[in-house]
């Protein structure tokens, strides 16, 4: 499971960075979204990967999953969601103001 998770994180980060460097606003938005998915998975994994472990106290549990990273991921997801929504609106507005979708507002560069 460790290999699966770490490959997934690495793949998402690579795609995210590639898209961010494309310098077109929509590509950058999708790139940042992928990057935030990678970060959320990473945060989730920081509490160690456990199978069938109780999250809350139970009398017959042998091991517990760490609940804190789950709370952190939840916060990070909410914040990332809000920021992405804002960025999409901003990208549309910049397209209207600048006439093209390059992040510098100058097409053809």
């Amino acid at each position: 499971m460790e290999i699966l998770i770490s490959t997934a994180i690495g793949f998402l980060v690579a795609c995210g960075i590639y898209l961010m460097l494309r310098a077109r606003t929509m590509d950058v938005v999708i790139g940042l979204t992928l990057l935030s998915y990678a970060v959320n998975l990473f945060l989730f994994a920081s509490g160690r990967l456990t199978n069938n472990a109780a999250a809350l106290i139970s009398s017959d549990a042998a091991a517990y999953a760490d609940p804190l990273p789950q709370a952190l991921v939840l916060t990070a997801i909410v914040i990332g969601f809000g920021m992405t929504a804002f960025l999409v609106v901003l990208a549309i507005r910049a397209f209207g103001d600048l006439g093209n979708d390059h992040v510098d507002g100058e097409a053809g560069k």
């Binding site: 945060l43 952190l72 914040i79 990332g80 920021m83 901003l90 910049a94 510098d104």
Partner: protein, 512 residues
């Protein structure tokens, strides 16, 4: 104990912002009254908090009464009290300036302004790393809205860069936090300081990496060397009261660097102690030098002031990087002065630009300003203060910094860079002054006279420089006391977590 006072600087702006949203249909006068009243209240509360911090005790507020390290705590020491007061004073005058009409250029200016204050105060008061991230995001999303206030293609473009860079920065921040949590199992700053000192050798490398990641993130907020290119564009295109408030935003990055790298990775952090030392001083000096080139090369006053912010950050980080009590105290003095003066300069640049018609704040021949004597005197005083000429506060700040570097191995570099940079800034600002006020054509002036509220705001911010010089003794005593508190992480840890087992105190604080 302070009771619930500690949470007020976070709650008051939030309640005010919500109230303003609810009463949005009742007209601008209601909005402005709520906004200014809440702002005055915030200044008063900050003063109370500063007064409480003078004794040197750590005031801890456990949110929801969950005891640290399990719950989130707010911690008040001298540094955070100072930053909260500085923020509210700067914000009060920015708001006063905005009430002269610029708050009407877009919607919900006051709501966003107070949300930003909430994020700033929270970031200064929190004692938890993840909570710091959350407050960073609050102040950032409010600042995105404020930066776009007034609209226009320039702001859209600068805003796009600013938002994307900060989102990437937030991703790095979370990776740093995740790694630290994975290694140490805690995010409370005091608890982190204890755990870092006890970290096993197999954990050190990952902790080191995540600490440097955090430095990159804070460096981005503070606009340190490779990460400052967003600042001149963003600050110079923001509307004046917003830019003035943003003068404190870079200081949030500086504050976080001081907090994390003095407390968690400070002198008592075992194998990772003084982790920031090899980085801060050189980065600060190079940032300072490049910032001064920006000041020299600017073709427009607003951009020049934005580069002056970069210069002040470079000077501050270099001062912090010396890592002695004297240099830290000098940096704090310089921080107060430079924040208020650059804030005042942004407002002044706007006053000047508004009276020059289409030429705006560009440094070329244009019409005479409507109030030449008043504005040129103000510009003269502000320039003297920001360059650091006697007898104003900027001079004392730089003198303290230079004195702190005596006997340090890096003294030669430190002295020469700071002095040469000040000289170049002096040349650049003299040229700006003559371009703005002397090289004028004879076209009729079109600008309106500056309103009373805006003049009051600029004057008050500029007055901070002579005041900091006159009360230099009191202020520098306070900053020395603050610096002494900062170099004793054990006091902070015990203030938050209660008395530590004596074996650990011995192993950690043996040299005291």
């Amino acid at each position: 104990m302070m009771g619930h006072w500690l949470i007020v600087p976070v709650l008051l702006p939030m309640v005010a912002a919500i109230l303003m949203l609810l009463t949005a249909r009742m007209g601008r006068t209601v909005e402005r009254s709520i906004s200014l009243l809440a702002m005055l209240g915030l200044v008063a509360v900050s003063a109370v908090l500063l007064n409480a911090s003078l004794s040197g005790d750590y005031q801890v507020y456990a949110l929801g009464n969950w005891v640290a390290p399990f719950g989130i705590v707010l911690v008040l020491d001298r540094l955070s009290a100072l930053m909260v007061l500085l923020t509210s004073v700067l914000a009060l005058f920015s708001l006063l300036y905005a009430c002269n009409g610029q708050d009407r250029e877009g919607r919900h200016f006051h709501v966003l302004f107070h949300m930003q204050l909430m994020g700033l105060n929270g970031a200064f008061l929190t004692g938890d790393l993840f909570n710091l991230f959350v407050f960073f995001e609050i102040l950032l999303i409010a600042s995105y809205g404020l930066l776009l206030h007034g609209g226009g293609p320039l702001r859209s473009r600068a805003g796009l860069h600013y938002v994307i860079l900060n989102l990437a920065g937030s991703a790095l921040f979370l990776i740093g936090i995740g790694t630290i949590y994975g290694m140490l199992g805690t995010l409370n700053m005091a608890d982190l300081a204890v755990k870092v000192a006890q970290a096993g050798p197999e954990q050190l490398r990952l902790i080191h990496i995540s600490a440097l990641l955090l430095m990159v993130v804070f460096g981005l907020k503070a606009a340190l060397l490779p990460l400052y290119f967003w600042l001149p564009g963003a600050y110079s295109s923001a509307s004046a009261p917003v830019a003035a408030l943003f003068a404190i935003m870079t200081k949030v990055g500086v504050y976080s660097i001081i907090r994390i790298f003095m407390l968690v990775f400070g002198i008592e952090a075992g194998a990772l102690s003084n982790l920031a030392q090899p980085w801060l001083l050189p980065l600060g000096l190079v940032t300072l030098s490049l910032g001064v080139f920006g000041v020299l090369a600017s073709r427009c006053l607003r951009k020049q002031v934005a580069y002056l912010v970069v210069v002040s950050v470079g000077t501050l980080i270099a001062g912090v990087g010396l890592l002695t009590v004297e240099s830290m105290a000098a940096s704090l003095y310089y921080l107060m002065h430079s924040t208020l003066i650059t804030g005042g300069l942004f407002l002044l640049a706007d006053l000047i630009a508004r009276q020059r018609g289409d030429v705006d704040s560009e440094l070329r021949v244009g019409p005479t300003v409507t109030q030449p004597l008043l504005l040129s005197t103000m510009f003269f005083i502000a320039a003297m203060a920001v360059v650091g000429l006697p007898p104003l506060g900027g001079f004392i700040g730089k003198l303290l910094l230079l004195e702190a570097a005596v006997q340090q191995p890096s003294m030669a570099w430190f002295w020469s860079v700071i002095l040469i940079a000040s000289f170049f800034a002096l040349i650049a600002l003299s040229r700006t002054g003559s371009a703005l006020f002397l090289k004028t054509d004879d076209t009729a002036t079109t600008g309106v006279r500056a309103g009373g509220a805006s003049l009051l705001a600029v004057t008050a911010l500029l007055l901070s420089s002579p005041l900091l010089a006159v009360y230099g003794n009191v202020v520098s005593d306070f900053s020395i006391a603050t610096a002494e508190q900062l170099v004793q992480p054990m006091q902070y840890i015990e203030g938050v977590l209660g008395p530590q087992p004596s074996s650990m105190v011995n192993s950690m604080g043996g040299e005291q």
